[in-house]
Symmetry: C2
């Protein structure tokens, strides 16, 4: 990520923000990560990420499948899930377990513990990293003598844009 600028769009960017910039950042980052790691960013994988990068909204796997079917031959579910697994492994797509949906990440240098803010009306997802929470969880874990492997934090509600509309 050295010479790739950050995607500086804020959480829940304005509806008229320059999303082309977000979009190309998402795709270029994936390209670069694949090159660095010597793995292949195949057309199918590109296509799935391109669909997700079209907005900051999350999409279900079968929604993605439908959109792929619009431009090319309809893929099988397995193909979609394979591409999603690849992109999640690469760290450029996240899965929202609350609604079985996937979205393109716009943050670099994730800590282990992120918050995902999901607008129930428009479906847009924002990511934050609270240092307070990042500190609190290991403390709780220590008290419980619990060895943490994975943290899911999803907050559902309404974003400013939808509330004021």
């Amino acid at each position: 990520m050295a010479h790739l600028p950050r995607c500086d769009s804020p959480p829940f960017p304005a509806v008229d923000h320059d999303h082309g910039r977000c979009r190309s950042w998402i795709l270029q980052r994936a390209e670069q990560l694949c090159q660095q790691q010597g793995i292949r960013f195949t057309p199918q994988r590109q296509q799935v990420l391109a669909i997700l990068s079209a907005s900051h909204r999350s999409l279900g796997a079968y929604d993605i499948l439908e959109r792929m079917a619009e431009s090319t031959r309809r893929p099988t579910p397995a193909a979609v899930y394979r591409a999603l697994a690849f992109l999640m492994e690469l760290g450029v797509v996240h899965r929202m377990s609350g609604n079985n949906a996937y979205f393109a990440c716009t943050r670099t240098n994730h800590q282990h513990i992120m918050q995902f803010w999901i607008c129930r009306r428009c479906g847009v997802v924002a990511e934050t990293e609270s240092s307070t929470i990042a500190q609190a969880i290991p403390l709780l874990a220590e008290t419980l003598e619990f060895q943490t492997a994975w943290v899911t934090m999803e907050i559902e509600g309404e974003c400013r844009t939808c509330r004021t509309a």
Copy 2:
């Protein structure tokens, strides 16, 4: 809940703890809540909660269905999901979206924001309420101008019992 003692079993209780106490607390609390609210705690609902209250582990809906089939006529999936929806609405069962599983709550006076600690080996779930986190989330929400409706916090890992075994 006035005269029902708290379920004082700690998070991740020892394997030899007096679970009969947990179990009867879970069932009596549900009974009492139904009486207070004038709603019916039918045999099917009791049976689902009895199955969940048999341990602190979470179970999938179809696991519950199988256990019901052992003692009575095999119910339909819809019957299981209806009972689970009822018990969740009552607040005595929670759903873990990370693994589509359900477990019997052992805490009263939930705040809005709980942490669910899920052991990947034994499946036991513990609940905590961190005041630090309960304060942090509204602050983040305010910054984002986000109106929070629901918070999911699930931490997967290994409990002490499983780590030391």
